[in-house]
């Protein structure tokens, strides 16, 4: 049986390999990799479409920028409220787009029993880590550079983290799926304890260790305006908006699973099968998602 610990070790090795392999990658098409005129394409899979609310997102970002500027000129509660409101709604819309680990949270709650508050906790944990890592990254890069962090550096590290966390996720899901399958085939299935309690939150936190470029840009804008506190407040408000959407993905899985189990509660055999196979399915779903997201990365390495 492959243990979670072994999977973690393997994941760390893979993450390092990916980090090395991905160093020339650049997520922002404008920014040159490593200060040279490179020929890089974004390594993790980019989204396949845009949509009708793009205009609204742009407008919200511009409102947030304007609020930071006007607060800088004349601090007021109105400007602060405008920033927090715009950042919150921007977070909602932004997290609704591709990425932000909604699929991960959905899959994990599909495969595991949970208390009613847990999808909420996991959603806000994912959003908090996602936005918080941007703060840490910009802070660390700024300290290293002795000046405000470069957007290109922040995005390059973000791209590497994106690939690495998908690598960790894929390996963990593969290990868990293999363990589950082995248990099912041997007739002695384990009961899904692998991702119980802190394990689930660990997976959510580790896979969310990717800075959100939207949050990074708000923070950098505030730094250049000399208003770091406003940047942190804006990122926090954005993170709350993202948390609502990511939690909703968790609740979708949670309610679906609870509803199914309620219907099956008098049918012991069917309940057992549903529990086991739903857990296996959730691991395979996460694995498939990780491979899909990593495919451009792997193609680049190949």
């Amino acid at each position: 049986m492959i243990t979670i610990r072994r999977a973690r070790h393997a994941a760390v090795v893979l993450a390092l390999l990916l980090a090395l392999a991905a160093s020339p990658a650049s997520a922002n098409p404008f920014l040159t990799s490593g200060g040279e005129e490179g020929r890089a394409k974004p390594a993790p899979r980019p989204p396949a479409s845009s949509g009708p609310m793009v205009g609204a997102q742009i407008e919200l970002r511009e409102r947030a920028a304007e609020a930071i500027r006007s607060f800088g000129a004349e601090p007021s509660a109105k400007a602060l409220a405008a920033l927090l409101g715009a950042a919150f709604v921007y977070g909602l819309l932004h997290a609704a787009g591709p990425g932000h680990r909604k699929t991960v949270v959905f899959s994990l709650f599909l495969g595991r029993r949970a208390a009613p508050w847990e999808p909420l906790a996991a959603g806000f944990l994912a959003a908090g880590v996602h936005a918080g890592v941007g703060l840490v990254l910009v802070g660390a890069l700024s300290l290293l550079r002795g000046a405000i962090a470069s957007l290109g550096d922040a995005e390059r590290v973000g791209t590497v983290l994106d690939g690495a966390t998908f690598g960790i996720l894929g390996l963990a899901a593969a290990a868990l799926a293999a363990g589950k399958l082995r248990g099912l085939l041997s007739g002695k299935p384990r009961d899904g304890r692998a991702l119980a309690g802190r394990g689930l939150y660990g997976v959510v936190a580790v896979t969310s260790l990717v800075p959100c470029p939207g949050a990074t840009m708000i923070l950098l804008f505030a730094l250049y305006a000399g208003r770091i506190g406003l940047g942190v407040a804006g990122v926090a408000a954005m993170s709350l908006g993202m948390g609502v959407v990511i939690s909703a993905a968790g609740y979708l899985a949670y309610t679906g699973r609870e509803g199914l189990f309620r219907r099956l509660k008098t049918k012991e055999r069917a309940l057992w099968i549903a529990t086991e196979y739903l857990e296996l399915f959730s691991y395979l779903l996460v694995l498939g998602f990780a491979v899909y997201a990593l495919w451009p990365f792997l193609a680049q390495i190949g």
């Binding site: 396949a48 609870e258 309620r262 451009p296």
Partner: protein, 220 residues
């Protein structure tokens, strides 16, 4: 949890996700694009492109590259911006998709890059050379980022026509932003780093998009 409450929670989650996920929007930055067609009679010799960036991307690029903080980019700073925050667009066809009939191409080079600042916002200007490439009569240009990292908007006056010095303009030129539902852009979002082809036909693994186009044509 009671079943009715569970159903209400399920419904709320579905509605929230459907309401937001259906939007499927994900740009991290934006630019307003304006085009100027350089015409010699009815032939287009080049396109002058101007991009005005959003305040957040602008702040980073200006902050990193306007080293003496004088509100403009001198020659060395301009080259710094070009190398660090523009040259990579060669891998993306400079976001320019030219279409004549059903033939689509991206320019392999652009020239006369110039970065400037306008009210704290970053502006790029560059020229797409089209001499001898047969762009006359009726053709279209889309400014489009196939990675959807950057949203592109056209202002109310998206393009204009300017005759090159010493020539008479062909009368009746019409420029307009046109919805495009017939001529898709096929692109490979996960191809190798060196792969930036514009595909004529859909193949497995390619994505399809219908970017808005700026169309130049002449009244009969």
């Amino acid at each position: 949890m009671h079943f009715p409450r569970l159903r209400a929670l399920l419904l709320a989650s579905v509605l929230l996700l459907a309401a937001t996920a259906a939007l499927w929007a994900h740009p991290h930055m934006s630019l307003d694009s304006r085009l100027e067609f350089e015409m010699k009679g009815g032939e287009c010799l080049g396109i002058r492109v101007e991009w005005l960036f959003d305040p957040m991307f602008s702040a980073s690029i200006i902050g990193e590259n306007d080293l003496n903080h004088d509100g403009r980019f001198d020659k060395a700073e301009n080259e710094r911006v070009r190398k660090g925050a523009f040259a990579n667009l060669a891998n993306y066809g400079y976001f320019i998709f030219l279409r004549k009939g059903d033939k689509r191409v991206c320019p392999d080079r652009v020239e006369a890059f110039e970065a400037s600042q306008r009210d704290g916002r970053l502006v790029y200007r560059f020229r797409v050379p089209l001499e001898g490439k047969g762009y006359s009569g009726d053709f279209s240009v889309a400014v489009f980022d196939s990675t959807f990292y950057c949203a592109v908007r056209y202002p109310a006056d998206p393009a204009s026509v300017r005759p090159v010095e010493g020539t008479e303009p062909r009368p009746g030129a019409i420029v307009e932003v046109a919805a495009n539902k017939k001529y898709p852009v096929f692109y490979n979002p996960s191809g190798a780093a060196s792969d930036f082809r514009v595909y004529d036909k859909w193949q497995k693994g390619l994505e399809t998009a219908y970017p808005e186009e700026v169309r130049l044509h002449f009244a009969e």
